[in-house]
Amino acid sequence: MKKAEEIFQLLKDNFPASSLELKTDQPTEPILLASALEIDKLCLFLRDSSELLFDDLMNLSGVDEPKSGLLSVYYHLGSTKFKHKITLKVSTDRNKPEVSSVTEVWKASDWHEREAYDLLGIIFLNHPDLRRILMPYDWDAGYPLRKDYENPEFYQGMKVPY
């Protein structure tokens, strides 16, 4: 079982060129900040490294941070063998939100990423099937969980507001 600091050190040793940061001043567990376009490579290492074996993507969720102009994705990883956990966070520009998909690493991320795309409009590069998952396929009013989202007046002739 490894602490977040040890996992962070391992990542830094193996990815010296990457910008990585560990935020420990958190009321929750420490958060490891990574870069959005490298997250797939980091995750593959986290899954396959014999000291880490993060075989379980427990959660993947998108967050809108309009004050800093960012859209972020949180990854909660766990290892069923070593029982350790880590939280990763990547941020991307709100106007061009692109994050590398981790579907090649964990199949479970497929629908999670589709949800983040559906509700926040985060584009996951190299996702095999990036469609809306909850909202109707022909929903063209935008992404409902963005803070500046405005609901449309009508959808297919049905009045939407109360």
Binding site: L134, M135, P136, P144, Y149, N151, Y155, Q156, M158, K159, V160, P161, Y162
Partner: protein, 163 residues
């Protein structure tokens, strides 16, 4: 109604108007589309089960809208589901009736303000006969709604459809 008045005095003769007879037949075998949406559907299933026994009013679930008389909208109607509900309703043969069950189907319920995906009342897409309030309504409330619907059918006229 009273068309069974003379059943016991005059042998096997029953005197009734055709309207009364048809209405009685209709209200006594309201087959429902077996269709549920959310937590209200759990209460609807409880109503169908042995303790509350919907069947004693002639309500049997039918797995096809083409063989059904009523549809109970039991739960939150999302915009995505609304188009499907409309299609189900259009597939039902006349005469057909609708019970809107619970606050969500009535008016959007707790999603009335921030539910970007919720239709604020199923009566925006199909005509509702009886609204059953509650969140979710108890089986007794749904039974009361059904009795109200039966009352409505009992007073229907062949010439003019009131529902």
């Amino acid at each position: 109604m009273g068309f069974l008045d003379k059943e016991f005095n005059d042998g096997n003769i029953v005197v009734a108007t055709a309207e009364d007879l048809l209405n009685w037949a209709r209200l006594s075998s309201l087959w429902q589309v077996s269709f549920g949406l959310a937590c209200c559907a759990i209460e609807m299933m409880a109503t169908s089960a042995s303790h509350y026994d919907f069947d004693r009013f002639g309500v049997i679930p039918r797995p096809s809208p083409r063989q059904a008389d009523i549809i109970i909208i039991s739960g939150t109607v999302t915009l995505k589901m609304a188009t499907r509900i409309k299609r189900l309703y259009e597939q039902m043969p006349e005469p057909k009736y609708i019970i809107s069950m619970g606050s969500c189907a009535n008016c959007g319920g707790p999603y009335w303000e921030h539910g970007y995906h919720v239709l604020k009342g199923v009566d925006r897409v199909i005509p509702v006969d009886v609204y059953v309030p509650g969140c979710p309504p108890r089986p007794e409330a749904l039974l009361e709604g059904l009795l109200k619907l039966q009352e409505k059918i009992r007073n229907e006229s062949m010439i003019k459809k009131t529902a």
